[in-house]
């Protein structure tokens, strides 16, 4: 069993309630932190090596240390709870079942950063979770951990929940801030970064739910101790939301020392593939990261076992590797069609493009059309090269990373499954009948034995 820091108490009945959470050691991190100088808390987070859990993996302590502190200007902490990356549903679990862990992390972080008004921006569809969070906030306030002069330190803090209204793009931090200001979620040009000019033009830190929850164990056990868990620069624990064709979909906390093979096949985690099917492919870090065929998923190009760490998942770069991303782990069995799945993702990104930059606005729609044609037996061989060309012209040419996020899945699908695209073109009737002949296709892929 790996070490659990976030979900350690998740199984306790009524842990959602303040009293139960408190009886199980809750809010000790606040009590500890409020005896420290804010700058020392930032140092502790730096020592922990914690990296942003939203997808980019940027070191949290460093992000915090960039926060500008001009005299007389308010600073803001904003929690990004706009979890929308396909395959990702971990923040929802934390907020729904252990809301106080997030609230506690937010109070410590608000104190460290000097935010007196802290916002949780949550995706609009998680409507019922708003009530859960607001109840947790009210309980924390009644217990004296929020409001005026918290624990007689002179520090005031309020946490407010802001509900979005359906827009993947608002998970991008500057789009989130625009949305929080009551506007369309159009990402801003950076620089200036939010650390200098964020919410209402003031210095702002935006962190993911899981990142802020991880501040609690970092406070409790200390940054150095936290950094000892995991491997190399992948410190601490990471929540993985596993879905697709696996026996046990759900949320797993891993201590970044296990292999991908163990994660998929062990009963402690995904429990293998249902109905005796073979593993075909996997998107290991949310829909934006490159898809990997089974052979490259389980072993790196060097032939080493691939591990569930930031570094190992990215080993080989895009030609043979992928990314940890948000931890949205999507598994596909031998019956799944990569063209169809890629088409579905292209439709997603077309739907979610804010429309500000033409490469993304036009390119995502164009890719969706071509993929729909290929999928439905109306494709041409030249379409595959055209798709490659379009994705390469979106990547790197947009204000925000949504363009890259739309381009990468298409690029990786062509890179690793080009013969499947070609099969759709040469077998239009079968493609149209949605008979993909994939059992045949899956044969050449090396399949690892179940450990």
């Amino acid at each position: 069993m790996g070490r659990k820091l976030l979900l350690e108490n998740a199984h306790i009945e009524n842990i959602r309630l303040y009293d139960v959470y408190r009886q199980n050691g809750g809010y000790a991190a606040v009590e500890k932190a409020f005896k420290m100088a804010p700058a020392d808390i930032v140092e502790e987070v730096k020592k922990s090596g914690l990296r942003g859990r939203g997808g980019a993996g940027f070191p949290t302590g460093m992000k915090w240390s960039f926060l500008a502190k001009p005299e007389g200007v308010p600073r803001y902490l904003v929690c990004n709870a706009d979890e929308s990356e396909p395959g990702t549903f971990k923040d929802r679990y934390l907020m729904e079942f252990i809301p106080h862990l997030l609230i506690e992390g937010l109070i410590v972080s608000s104190f460290a950063l000097g935010s007196n008004r802290t916002y949780i921006y949550i995706r609009g569809e998680y409507a019922w979770i708003v009530d859960i969070l607001e109840q947790a906030i009210a309980e924390a306030k009644a217990a004296g951990f929020l409001g005026k002069n918290i624990l007689n330190t002179g520090f005031d803090c309020e946490i407010y929940v802001q509900r979005g209204a359906g827009a993947y793009i608002c998970g991008e931090e500057t789009a989130l801030l625009e949305s929080l200001e009551g506007k369309r979620g159009n990402p801003r040009i950076k620089p200036p970064f939010p650390a200098v000019k964020g919410l209402y033009g003031c210095p702002t830190v935006v962190n993911n739910v899981e990142t802020l929850a991880a501040i609690v164990p970092i406070m409790n056990i200390g940054g150095e101790e936290y950094a000892k868990i995991g491997v190399g620069r992948s410190t601490g624990t990471k929540l993985i939301s596993a879905c697709g064709n696996i026996n046990k979909p759900g949320i797993y906390e891993i201590d970044m020392t296990i292999s991908v093979e163990e994660f998929i096949y062990s009963d402690e985690y995904c429990g293998g593939i249902p109905n005796g099917k073979r593993l075909k492919a996997c998107i290991p870090g949310g829909s934006s990261v490159p898809i990997l065929p089974a052979n490259l998923l389980l072993k790196t190009a060097k032939g080493e076992p691939r591990m569930m760490t930031y570094e190992s998942l990215a080993d080989g770069g895009f030609p043979t590797g992928s990314m940890m991303g948000s931890g949205g782990f999507i598994v596909m069995d031998e019956d799944q069609c990569v063209v169809r799945h890629t088409m579905s993702l292209a439709r997603f990104y077309r739907h979610e493009s804010c429309g500000q930059c033409s490469p993304c606005r036009e390119g995502t729609g164009w890719m969706e059309k071509i993929l729909t044609n290929i999928e439905n037996g109306r494709g041409k061989m030249s379409d595959i090269d055209l798709l490659w060309d379009i994705q390469s012209k979106i990547e790197g040419n947009t204000i925000c990373p949504l363009g890259d996020a739309a381009a990468w899945p298409v690029a990786a699908a062509i890179r690793h499954f080009r013969d499947e695209f070609e099969w759709h073109v040469t077998n239009p009737d079968e493609a149209l009948q949605r008979n993909f002949g994939l059992a045949h296709y899956a044969d050449p892929i090396e399949v690892a034995a179940t450990p």
Partner: protein, 165 residues
């Protein structure tokens, strides 16, 4: 449209969450309230009313209302089925669920049944990938959908509608 005293109080409470003069931040939450009060969709009149409440120009409200997918700009049925069709749900059979609802209710995606009870929409990833296939119905998620479960949900909606009419 006119909000009740209770809703107006709620609006004040929301506006107080932001610094002085930043009441535009309340727009998205207040539009949610307006949509609820207006039978599940935002008419031009409802949007203009919100503009007046928050001292915004109507265009500031329209541009936001047209950006976010949860605001319905056309009337919807009493029960709105928003079925996820993105990759992970697709791997677990969302296509079949969408087809089944279409046939059962005899409507296309985006349409409302003649009795005004049901609207079917497809939506993109709602963050329930491990519990796929799924749909949103009002404030809550219906997960692990099967044809039988869809039947039950539709029956239950019909029963509730018949008793509450």
């Amino acid at each position: 449209m006119n909000f009740s005293e209770e809703k107006l109080k709620k609006v004040q409470e929301i506006v107080a969450r932001y610094p002085e003069g930043k009441q535009k931040s309340a727009l998205i939450p207040v539009l949610h309230i307006a949509q609820e009060e207006n039978g599940g969709w935002l008419s031009a009149e409802a949007m203009d009313y919100v503009a007046g409440l928050l001292q915004l120009t109507p265009i500031e409200v329209y541009e936001v209302a047209t950006f976010y997918s949860m605001y319905n700009l056309k009337p919807v049925g009493r029960y709105l089925f928003e079925v996820c069709q993105t990759g992970p749900c697709m791997l677990n059979g969302s296509d079949g669920i969408i087809d089944y609802i279409r046939e059962k209710l005899n409507i296309k995606v985006g349409e409302t049944t003649a009795d005004g009870l049901f609207t079917l929409k497809t939506v993109e990833c709602l963050g329930a990938c491990g519990y796929a296939p799924m749909m949103q119905m009002g404030k809550h998620y219906k997960e692990h959908l099967t044809k039988e479960k869809v039947d039950q949900i539709i029956d239950e909606c019909r029963r509730t509608a018949a008793t509450n009419n």
